[in-house]
């Protein structure tokens, strides 16, 4: 089994800056709004929300700069919003409206903007990120490529091929494993043998396990690790024990109520609300309203356009 899912109640949250709290709440309300719109039949296609995992990209945000490459995956709204704070562009993308960051062609799972890329085939972007890291190592030393990988994605051989090359060639590649204990409907214990940390060690790659869901704590633990990757140019794995509070995509949560309850118990959202009620409620309300405005504004836009040379 991989690092055991702690049953113990998580330690209390620390006070966040207003900016961090706003970003966390922006992501939260963005995701809730999407589920809401799906529920009302206003969205089609698919989406994967990061409810409960928002703090991961928020913790990472100040540790990355624009020159770093980020490779996101299917569950990427938080990754995108933490990088660009652009709910309009993202929502327009999901809805296929004007101003969409990829003209509505890519949709929720396929986004490219500057040095940020996501795609929908699990594991596929690990070698791609290694290739980018190979370039950075030579052309832009000190920069890194960061790739988000779920626990379930360790089923894919591509991840190991990438890790092997990254280790052999000492590439500045950070694999951020969001271990939320489940892949779609399948618990980690029945799709991943051994441990994620063991995989790092197998390839001689450093591994850091992060169990906290407190943005400050997570950031403090990650900071020296990313620093080291920049300084030494060597791959690094970071595994965060996290908790998927929502469904895999929409309405497809087949976990037992206790299981969902346990994930909820770890949710930073309720716990932060309890610990810092005043700061929380003010910002929560603000972001909820902001997202509602974004939804209203973007819903009113005409359909996105994609023609001519942009068709490739």
């Amino acid at each position: 089994m991989t690092a055991t899912r702690t049953e113990a109640p998580p330690t209390g949250p620390t006070r966040l800056t207003d900016a961090d709290l706003d970003l966390l709440l922006l992501i939260r309300h963005f995701e809730l709004a999407l589920l809401d719109m799906f529920g009302r039949g206003e969205l089609h296609g698919t989406t994967h929300t990061c409810l409960g995992q928002e703090y991961v990209p928020v913790a990472l945000r100040p540790l990355l700069d624009d020159g770093d490459h980020v490779f996101s995956n299917h569950r990427g709204h938080g990754h995108y919003l933490a990088r660009f704070a652009d709910p309009h562009g993202l929502l327009a993308e999901v809805m296929g409206r004007q101003g969409a960051v990829c003209h509505g062609v890519g949709g929720s799972q396929h986004i490219l903007r500057d040095r940020y890329l996501s795609t929908g085939v699990q594991g596929e972007s690990a070698p791609v990120a290694a290739g980018v890291a190979l370039h950075l190592k030579r052309a832009e030393p000190g920069r890194l490529a960061l790739v988000y990988v779920g626990d379930g994605t360790w089923g894919e051989g591509a991840v190991y091929e990438a890790l092997n090359m990254a280790a052999l060639w000492e590439l500045p590649l950070v694999l951020v494993v969001e271990n939320n204990g489940i892949a779609q409907s399948t618990p980690t214990g029945v799709q991943l043998a051994g441990s994620i940390g063991g995989r790092a060690r197998a390839f001689g790659v450093d591994h850091l396990l992060v169990t906290s869901t407190d943005t400050n704590t997570v950031r403090a633990e990650l900071a020296p690790v990313l620093r080291r990757v920049r300084d030494r140019s060597a791959p690094q794995m970071v595994e965060l024990l996290t908790h998927r509070v929502g469904p895999h995509s929409k309405g497809d949560d087949s976990r037992r109520p206790e299981e969902i309850g346990q994930a909820r118990a770890h949710d930073w959202y309720g716990r932060y609300a309890a610990a810092f009620p005043e700061q929380f409620s003010e910002h929560d309300e603000r972001q909820r309203r902001y997202v509602a405005d974004v939804v209203r504004e973007v819903s009113g836009r005409p359909a996105s356009r994609w023609d001519g040379v942009d068709r490739g």
């Binding site: 089609h44 296609g45 698919t46 809805m95 296929g96 969409a100 003209h103 509505g104 062609v105 890519g106 949709g107 929720s108 799972q109 396929h110 795609t119 929908g120 085939v121 699990q122 594991g123 379930g152 994605t153 360790w154 089923g155 894919e156 051989g157 892949a183 779609q184 409907s185 399948t186 029945v190 799709q191 991943l192 497809d252 087949s254 359909a303 996105s304 994609w306 068709r311 490739g312």
Partner: protein, 341 residues
């Protein structure tokens, strides 16, 4: 109209799997998130893991690996059906299909039965985007030892899957994702105008016709995923344009049973092949080649191919429509072919 409401395609598939599992104690189902209560991304495998927990396995995300495992089961004399969650990901199993499962049937100098089916939920029109909407059938045409089938509302999936497994050749079964919620046709009746029957051995090809199966202005050949759309277009052509279009739906895409199609095609002398694949190297091109050489001199116009554009498949519905083959594309093609010379 007094027609019994037939089961949905997804139910027919699910029942087929139940029946096959019950009949063959050596059959295994493998795939991501197959087991209950989830029952697979498209719910095709619902209720199976409860009955046969040992033989219905939710696997890790390892498309290549699970097709390999299934190949091992087949090699050991068992049968295996793999579900690939989206057929786009069958790309990850290309090596196992091309270089192991298909090769093994012959490369050891004698026939080795490989009872292995890879099920592939296929196609677009659901807004899933460029890597979850493709029609990869064409990439697998012409692999020695491999057969390709496509689910259709005219072909019972129990019979199709049983035949695929019994053939001892590995096969891919493409399942149009939009078709899942459509209803199967039953009793030879499509609607108040159209009837259907079957051509060829094993009732392999469904023939849908108006009035007289031996009379039509044009034949439209489609794989199962387009069957419902083809029937819709044929109906419109009849009502709006007074064109009598016969539709042929072969269950097996490869190897092609051209012989079963030829009499119809020869009589009409006008043929359209429609499929959802993007342009180039399509199944239709292969079929057209067979028809052009077999019916040279009989065809009144060249075989017309209709397919999606040479493009990635966008996510947004209004853009997806500009790429994927539309009823109007098929309609226009049949109209031109029916009147051309």
């Amino acid at each position: 109209m007094g027609l019994t409401v037939a089961e949905r395609v997804v139910e027919n598939l699910n029942q087929a799997l139940h029946a096959l599992m019950a009949d063959d104690p050596g059959l295994h189902l493998l795939g991501e998130d197959l087991v209950d209560p989830y029952g697979g991304a498209f719910k095709v495998t619902r209720g199976l893991s409860g009955r046969w927990p040992d033989r219905v396995l939710s696997t890790p995300l390892s498309e290549g690996g699970i097709v390999g495992v299934a190949g091992g089961l087949a090699l050991a004399g068992q049968s295996a059906i793999v579900e690939i969650m989206f057929s786009d990901f069958v790309a990850l199993a290309f090596d196992q299909i091309l270089n192991f499962a298909s090769k093994s049937t012959a490369m050891y100098g004698r026939p080795v039965p490989m009872r292995l089916v890879v099920r592939c939920p296929t196609g677009g029109n659901r807004g899933y985007g460029p890597t979850h909407s493709q029609s990869p059938q064409k990439h697998f045409v012409g692999i020695p030892g491999l057969t390709l089938h496509e689910v259709s509302p005219f072909h019972d999936n129990h019979a199709v899957l049983a035949r695929m497994l019994a053939s001892g050749r590995p096969g891919l079964l493409f399942e149009d994702k939009v078709l899942y919620t459509n209803r199967m046709y039953a009793d030879g009746v499509v609607d108040e105008l159209f009837r259907y029957d079957y051509l060829g051995p094993d009732a392999g090809t469904a023939r849908i016709w108006v009035d007289d199966p031996e009379q039509c202005d044009c034949v439209l050949v489609v794989p199962g995923g387009l069957a419902g759309r083809a029937v819709r277009v044929a109906r419109e052509l009849l009502l709006r344009d007074d064109i009598v279009c016969q539709v042929l739906v072969p269950s097996r895409l490869w190897p092609l049973d051209v012989d079963a199609l030829l009499p119809s095609l020869a009589r009409a002398g006008r043929v359209v092949v429609a499929e959802e694949s993007t342009a180039g190297g399509t199944w239709g091109a292969e079929l057209a080649q067979a028809v052009h050489s077999r019916l040279w001199g009989t065809l009144r116009v060249p075989v017309r191919l209709v397919h999606s554009a040479d493009s990635v498949i966008p996510t947004a519905a209004h853009l997806e429509r500009t790429v994927l083959v539309q009823d109007t594309d098929i309609h226009r093609a049949v109209k031109e072919v029916a009147s051309g010379d």
